[in-house]
């Protein structure tokens, strides 16, 4: 009953639409088989089948004559094609190849599709670029740590035992002309920053105070080995209590 209702709604056409096709068949073989099975009804102009999710198990066959399409629809309805009965109806819209032949083809529609496709590709390219952007930072951070830690450790950590965690950081190996403002700009970006104190009589060292030990640890780990000048990588430790 529903089928009877459905049939008159779609007018006769040169193109038949088929669904309930076996989805395991490769697209090339599917097209070839559809061409072989429907060529008995008349000349076939085109066979359309796609493997996208939306178009799985479906195909369109465009005949040269509308009568061929009618015969095909009537005789092959329910035909067991690769073990699944075909479900055939007329196509709802006129095929491009037919529209081109009779001059009613609208180029705008095709261009729009093409633009959408190009736009999609561009977005994908941007995503790839963003992905690549992450790599240098990570590689840089990883590469910097071992190179600097060794000379720093060898230089001055051996004479003294490491200090326990403290909310105040002790900065060494600073250039002689560094100023509190310079260090403040650097350490201010981490949460919990309170103040920078420098010793007038001893250039090259400084104390940076944070709210608690957790916050100072974060700043210490991040800025350890930071080069204010190329020959002065910072050496950061916890201040002695």
């Amino acid at each position: 009953m529903s089928e009877v209702n459905a049939t008159p709604e779609i007018p006769q056409s040169n193109t038949i639409y088929i669904n309930n096709l076996n989805e395991k068949i490769k697209i090339d073989e599917l097209k070839k088989s559809l061409n072989a099975v429907f060529t008995q009804f008349g000349k076939i102009l085109e066979v359309l089948a796609f493997k996208t999710l939306k178009h799985k198990g479906q195909a369109w066959v465009v005949f040269e004559d509308a009568s061929s399409a009618s015969n095909a629809l009537r005789q092959m309805q329910g035909f067991p094609f690769y073990d699944k009965p075909m479900r055939i109806q007329y196509a709802k819209t006129k095929s491009d190849i037919i529209a081109k032949a009779d001059g009613t083809f609208v180029p705008r529609e095709k261009r729009k599709r093409h633009d959408d496709k190009a736009k999609k590709r561009k977005d994908q390219h941007d995503a790839n670029l963003a992905g690549m952007g992450l790599n240098p930072a990570y590689a840089g951070a990883y590469g910097a740590a071992p190179a600097i830690a060794y000379p720093g450790g060898a230089k001055s950590m051996v004479p003294e035992a490491p200090a326990p965690p403290n909310n105040i950081l002790f900065i060494q190996n600073l250039p002689n002309d560094s100023t509190p403002m310079m260090l403040q700009m650097l350490f201010l970006q981490y949460p919990g920053f309170k103040e920078v104190r420098m010793v007038e009589t001893k250039p090259g060292i400084a104390f940076v105070e944070y709210g608690d030990e957790m916050q100072s640890t974060v700043a210490m780990q991040t800025l350890q080995g930071f080069k204010i000048t190329p020959q002065n990588p910072m050496l950061i430790t916890y201040a002695k209590k």
Binding site: D28, K31, K32, S33, N35, A36, V37, T39, Q40, K43, I44, L45, E46, V47, F79, P80, F81, Y82, D83
Partner: protein, 287 residues
């Protein structure tokens, strides 16, 4: 009735079809006989001969490139036994809606080395019992038959079914009554020797007819049947069946290049046939 000439081939549409193969469209030309296909110069992946009146699949030149033949809606009843030599790369053969009736008539397709896809829909052969298994057993390279994949389970089943020779003989018996293919010289010689001492028959014409039938029979059962017919004296019924055999034998012998002696016999037989059946002789002349 239109002849397939080089001119027709050149005038017919050449194009890249929907599956991106170079195709020659000879559709709907009322062609009765395949001939002059050499004029295609082996330039086509697909040849479409649908909607014609072809009776026999023969006269095909060596076409190395041809991969697909579409022969829908014709009157194919026979296939050239040596077709595999001329179409080494044929992988798709569509014979939908033709007149192939007997199972043995698809045996020549076994000579096609790369036949993967075959359609015999709307032929009477598909109504024979064990049709699908017989085809699967004979055509080893087949992958898809009548738009259904050939599964390994079916191959094994077909192999088991046709393992005994009795089944094969049963299947081949039916077509032997209506049509005989080439025979082996040894068998024919042996049968002739057997027949010579028992020359006892009412009419010389009947003797000749019976000899021809025995020579062309394929199985011992056929020979036994003919001898029994002689003894039982049912000549009228046998003559009808014998004349049928003679007609078909003449067709078969004309298509095969037989030696001079056989040709003279064939001429005699064709004369007899013409006297009895004018229509058939007309069709034979056209062939």
């Amino acid at each position: 009735m239109v002849r397939l000439t080089a001119d027709l081939i050149w005038k017919s549409p050449h194009f890249f079809n929907t599956i991106k193969e170079r195709e020659l469209d000879l559709r709907g030309n009322k062609i009765a006989v395949i001939e002059n296909l050499g004029a295609t110069e082996d330039q086509f992946d697909t040849i479409d001969l649908s909607d014609n009146e072809i009776v026999k699949l023969e006269n095909v030149p060596y076409l190395n490139r041809l991969g697909t033949m579409l022969i829908n809606n014709n009157r194919i009843t026979r296939i050239n036994p040596n077709i595999g030599e001329f179409l080494p790369n044929l992988h798709t053969l569509v014979l939908t809606n033709n007149r192939i009736v007997n199972l043995v008539e698809i045996d020549p397709l076994a000579s096609l080395p790369k036949l993967h896809f075959l359609s015999l829909l709307d032929n009477n052969i598909t109504k024979k019992p064990n049709y699908r298994l017989y085809v699967i057993n004979n055509l080893k390279s087949l992958r898809v038959l009548d738009f259904k994949k050939v599964k390994n389970k079916e191959r094994l089943e077909a192999k088991n079914l046709f393992a005994s020779k009795e089944v094969i003989e049963e299947i081949q018996r039916t077509p032997a009554k209506t049509f005989s293919t080439g025979e082996t010289p040894n068998v024919s010689e042996a049968i002739e020797e057997q027949q010579t001492p028992k020359v006892v028959a009412p009419t010389p014409e009947q003797i000749i007819a019976i000899k021809a039938a025995i020579v062309n029979s394929q199985t011992l059962e056929e020979v036994a049947r003919l001898e029994k017919a002689l003894k039982s004296g049912q000549l009228p019924a046998d003559l009808i069946s014998l004349s049928d055999n003679i007609m078909l034998d003449n067709v078969d012998e004309k298509h095969e290049d037989m030696i001079h002696d056989d040709r003279s016999q064939a001429d005699g037989k064709s004369n007899d046939t013409q006297e009895q059946r004018n229509t058939d002789s007309a069709s034979m002349e056209q062939d």
